[in-house]
Symmetry: C2
Amino acid sequence: MPDEVFMKTPATPPRRPRDGTLRTALVDAGVALLRTRGPDGLSLRECAAQAGVSHAAPAYHFKNLAGLSTAIAARGYSLFCTAMTARLARAANSPTARLNAICHGYLDFASAHPELFLFIFSGQQLDKENDDFAQHSSNAYGILREACAPFVQPGAEPEEVEILVWSVVHGYAHLTMIHKADNPKFRENWPKLDLLLEHLDRALETAVKT
Amino acid sequence: MPDEVFMKTPATPPRRPRDGTLRTALVDAGVALLRTRGPDGLSLRECAAQAGVSHAAPAYHFKNLAGLSTAIAARGYSLFCTAMTARLARAANSPTARLNAICHGYLDFASAHPELFLFIFSGQQLDKENDDFAQHSSNAYGILREACAPFVQPGAEPEEVEILVWSVVHGYAHLTMIHKADNPKFRENWPKLDLLLEHLDRALETAVKT
DNA sequence: CAATCAAACTTGACACTGTCAAGATAAGTC
DNA sequence: GACTTATCTTGACAGTGTCAAGTTTGATTG
């Protein structure tokens, strides 16, 4: 290739696009690392290597490992939202159908991205002041809040229903993911989500009637 | 100090008791580290330093960092059991009173040892073949199973009730701990556990009646 | 068009980590 | 009292996060 003097980009690596390309590439690498190497496999240097940049490049965009972790968690919440809205789109228009739909979406996300689900709720220090994270996580809660609204009795706090619903579906999803690799005897009798939702729906109905 | 030749113990540190002293001291140090420095503050070398031994001493007793983590998790499950049985001892003898008691015990443990609670359920790789861990964790589940037994309908799988109850209380406890440091506006309207238990008890009652 | 400037990295260093191999030392046993 | 073995220590190595300083490069400006 004799005319490499003409093309300035291939000679020196064309990294410097002044958009967020590297940012998203690093988050992609982080998600992949979590999936392939487990919760402890995430590392700034390995993300940098997978993205083809030097070991200190991630620190420029994310400051800390906590910063990268927060960006990964924000990505997770974004996928969370799409999973729930996807189920909502196919649901009937009744309040209980919509409530059950977002619960199934919650579990869909956990099943499709167990490493991200556990990562988000691992209790590690995330930068909750971060705009991206705050927006996506509050979006997710907003979807839950909307689906719960029809079951809030007049004069009652909406959180009473929201935290009840959230507790049931989150507890079920979390325990399911935590015990995913456990002995099959335990997993064989593991009840389906719909079985819990029957109880939940009944509890919310009776609560309205009384 | 001229007569240091007489006292052999102070010259060379008297470490070698051939019982599990160092083991428990290292687990103590690990629990303390988790509390003071957060989920990422656990380290074999720091545990060794706090216990006053060399940096490689923990590897002899626990093989891996995963081994130490498993021992810490086993300690957590043990405290889990004592928290639930303590509430059971003070509970009335009705099935619902006993069920609510273990749920409160579950939350007691999470509130008293948030770092251990989150550590146990952080989804990291623990050695579930380990005898100590297996025994204590199955003990904890046994307590739950016993309290749920009166609500299992004849012919039904006990897991249906157990996972329902476990999901509700675990989801509530986990979400509470995860959002402990969040904005106070959220925490102000956070419902009490008893409010969820009312719904749970009612759901189990109606399930029996139908 | 050339000089400048700041954004987007790279390079190098440091302290810290887990893990392994090899050695030391004391406890218990015969 | 010699031997064996459990319990550590010492030393080394690769890998990690983080910081400081330099370097390249796209854009801006005179």
